[in-house]
Each structure stands twice: as C-alpha cells, then as structure tokens.
C-alpha cells in the first residue's frame, strides 16, 4: 500500500520525520509533546538503545503506549527509567556535556533559530504572555538542538519578539561571543520540510522537502528569506510501520490531533 499525504496528520508527519533524525545510542533531552512522542517512536523503531532524558528528572525512560504524560514532570515519565534524580541535576547533565541532542517544540522561530515561548508584542506590556522557557533556554543554550514545529508564516519570523531559547542569536559568531560556546541549532523539522543552518551566516536553510511540498510553498509559508540547499532532497513518506507504532503510542491523539 502506498502512503499518501492524506493518510497522516501534520503532527504525525512531524513526529515521524523528527524520530528519523535520532540515532541509536544517542542521549536525547526531550521536551513534552511531539519531542517526547518522536523520541519514544524512535525507540520503538530504529533506536532501541536511545536514552531519553526528561527535565522532570529522568534518565533512560520507556514511555508506555497509551500512557503519555501530560508534562515531563509526572510519574508516567519514569516508567522503566534507569534513574530518577532532581530536576536541577538532570538539567546540569546538559551543562556537563552528557547530552547529544536537545529536542523540543517551538511556538515561534526566527531565521537564526532563536525560539520564543515567552511573549508576543512589547516586553513590558505584551499582547500575549506565553508560558515561558521551562528548561528550553537551558537545553538550547547547552546542546545541539532539534526543533519540531508546525510550519506557519506567523511562526517563522524574521526576528522573534523575545529570544527565550537561544539559537544563533544575531547569526555568525554572535552565539559564541555571548558566551554560549557549546551546542546550537542543528535541525528544524516542520510539516513541510527539514531545515539546517548555514555554517557561516547561521541562517536557516531548507535541506529537505517532505512529500508533496515544494520549495516555493515552503518560502510562501515563511516570514523571512530562506536559504535553500543546492542538493535539495525529498524525504520518504512515513511508512505504515512508523504510523502504526506512532498511533499505538498516542491512541487518544493527545499530541497528534
């Protein structure tokens, strides 16, 4: 059976495509939502030895299908974990260098990979106050990042209203000069494609298109001018196995509606 774009939701596509970026044996620090789901999916598929860390204080958990936690701070996150520790100490593992990949969602991102989850509008009098950084700033400051998010023009902006979780700040060497000498944005996965960052300018670059999308369509949904890789690739559609395992994980569509 051929899988077409009608066979999966945008969230499912996001989960599958980001799961594919994780490699067996890696240590991934996963946020709630799509990241938690995608990391668990990768464990169930090609990366059984993936070590998942949660900021609630968990090392090496295996989330039970159908029992997704409402955040990364509940006991559901600790199922079959190798270790449970304080949230401060698990975040310090990022600083100590134990984590290969930080993996989280985003509400708003800009062309240098900075994420905003704090506020829209003026800093003193925001029009919309958002929930804030959580561990997002720590994760983005201290390790290589994969961000999974819906691709909408209002979410892909030239410059975020507020840098909650630092990407490459103002581009070029500005991240390093600010004192963030480790980590940085590695990939942004959306329902349209996969993006990296130019080595020198540190600007977002379209690397891979998902099935049925075009570079023009991606640009049309982006609020700044995208760089486009010379050898633009196209991903393989989600497989039936990927979708089956994913749907078993989230039968109530808590995160994949």
């Amino acid at each position: 059976m051929t899988i077409s774009t009608a066979d999966y939701t945008a969230s499912e596509l996001l989960a599958v495509m980001s799961a594919r970026l994780l490699r067996d044996g890696q240590v991934v620090f996963a946020g709630v939502g799509i990241p938690l789901l995608a990391a668990t999916l990768a464990q169930g598929l090609h990366a059984p030895g993936l070590t998942i860390l949660f900021e609630g204080g968990v090392i090496g958990a295996f989330i039970e299908p159908g029992k997704l936690p409402p955040s990364t701070n509940e006991q559901r996150c600790t199922r079959r974990a190798n270790m449970v520790l304080s949230s401060t100490d698990v975040l310090l593992l990022l600083q100590r260098g134990y984590v290969d990949v930080g993996f989280m969602g985003g509400a708003q991102i800009d062309q240098c990979g900075n994420l905003n989850s704090s506020l829209i509008g003026d800093r003193e009098r925001p029009t919309t106050r958002l929930p804030g950084t959580g561990g997002g700033n720590d994760i983005a400051s201290l390790t290589q990042m994969i961000v999974a998010m819906k691709h909408e023009k209002r979410r892909f902006v030239s410059r975020v209203d507020f840098v909650t979780s630092p990407g490459f700040l103002c581009g070029e060497e500005s991240r390093r000069e600010a004192g963030l000498t480790a980590g940085g944005m590695y990939r942004v996965v959306t329902d349209l494609g996969i993006f990296g960052f130019d080595e020198h300018s540190k600007r977002m670059q379209l690397l891979v298109l998902h099935p049925g999308t075009t570079a023009d369509q991606v640009q049309a949904n982006t609020g700044f001018e995208l760089l486009v890789a010379a050898d633009l690739e196209i991903t393989d559609s989600p497989t039936e196995r990927e979708l089956t395992v994913l749907r078993r994980l989230d039968p109530d569509q808590l995160y994949t509606a």
Binding site: V32, T78, L94, T128, G135
Partner: protein, 317 residues
Amino acid sequence: MTLSYAEIRSRTEERDRSLREKVMSLDEAAALVPDGASVGIGGSTLSRTPMAMIWALIRAGRKDLFCARSITSCEGELLFASGTSRHILTSWFSQGIVWGVSRIMRAYTESGRGRFEEWSHMAVGLRFRAGAMGVPFLPMRSMMGSDVIAQLPEARLIDCPFTGEKLVLVPALNPEVALIHVQRCDAYGNAQIDGLPFMDIDLAMAANRVILTTERIVSNDQIRRAPDQTKIPFMAVDAVVETPFGSAPHECYGLYEPLFRHLDGYAAQIRRDPEEGVRAYLDRYFYGPKSWTEYLDGLGLEELLDARRRGTSIHDD
C-alpha cells in the same frame, strides 16, 4: 533580595532545630505564613504540588505572597485569582501543555495585576541550591545572550577568574517558607520522598521555615531503620501536617496520578470564562468545603480511587 550572610545565619539560629514533635493542623500551619512572605513551592507542574497547604493559605485569605516554583500549573492560577499572590517566580506557567496557554496567567500578567518573573528552569534550581548551600550565588552557563536574562537585573555576567570564560551568576533564593508535600515523614519532620524529587531538597534547605504536608506520618523508628532514605532532615522542618491525597487533583508519585477528568473540567470552565470560571471554582472547591476531607469528597471518591489505581501501578510490570 540577596540576604547578607549575617541575616541568613541569625534567621537560622533563631529557629528551634531540636528533635521535637511538630504535628499540627492545616490551619495551624497556615498561621506560620504571614502576609507578604516569600514562599517556595515544592513539586513541579502536576506532581507533588503541596495543594492542601495552598488550599489552606487561600482559605485563610493570605495576601501578597511572593511565590517561587520550578514549574507552575493551576495552583499558580488559583494563587493569582484568589489574591494570595501577585508575584510568581517560575520557569513555566500554564495549567499544562495539553490545556494550552493559561487564560488566567494571561489575564493577570497582561493587565499588570500579577507578575510572572521568568527564569530558566535550571536557574530556578540553582537559586534554591545556592540558598541551600549558604552561598550568595552559583555560576551557570545558560541564559547568556537571551532575552530571558535581559529581563533579570539580579543575574550577573562575569568573566571566570579561572578560565576567562563568560558565566552567569544567579543569586541565592532563601524563601521565608517552603511548602513541600511528601509521601511520608515522622512527627519530627524527617521526610522520605519517592520518585521524582524535583528541587524539593534544595528548597527545604534554602528556606527559613519548612511546612511539610504528608500522605502519612510514620514512626521515628521506621525512619531510623533506613536513614539513607531520609531526604529532608527534621532540623529543617517546622510543621508536619498529615493530609491524605494532599496533592489532589495533582499527583503524588507511586500513590496516585493526576485526576485528569477533574483537570479537564477545570480547564473547560476556565476556557469558557477565565475570571468567572476560576472564581466559581475557588468558591466550590476552596472556600466552600468545611475540611480537607470535604474537599476530597467534592473531587469525588470514584476519581480518587481511579487516580490511586493508576498511581500505584507505576512499577507493576
């Protein structure tokens, strides 16, 4: 805000740190928290929230508490809406990601009625840890370059005297009172915590007073049989209140999971009309019941038993 060492020492010296019984009621414990106090809240998001103590403080009409918590959920909404707090320091504030952005948090912060002081999750933890260690600051390596730190004049950037690297120094946070819910402790306050400890151990040692609520009080003999399981020492504790289901509708590791149906109902009520919804919720669940048991009865035995069944099955397989 950063206390001098002389101040920290004299506050601790004045406390009765002897081995003594300190079991009391929720109301008696609430009386230990004055209006305007700085209050550290244990647990995180939906876990081991000291809900019974927050319930008691809201009922007691406490005002203007400065509250600090790792991650803040609906208890923060209720603290704002009841006027118990107008200033919450935390890293993330909404009922929970599955329920979307908090309408109450938005209503209060956007209108200037409430302040949400945002630090990174690790920064909150290190501020408690500095307080616990009796030092005025700890160094860390995140937040640099972001707008989070740009909003925080209390955090300082330095060049490391050893390596020349840029570092952030975050100041100690020594709350006047910590509210912490645990699975069990003895009458002296020696507390055991199962599962996720969050920042509670550092918070307990940082605070100048600790109020423990506990699912059950056990004998000191039981504590002494496994002293390596004691996570908070009696010396740091000023009040012990036995409150079964003391985190409900949130969870307590190994004992009960969140009461999801209740939380969904709460979220729906807020979504329909934030200000009126939360007011009605407070009236029904916080101001209305005559006792903690009556509060639990209002949550409903069926859902409590369901949460208990889910909570106790965590390591069943």
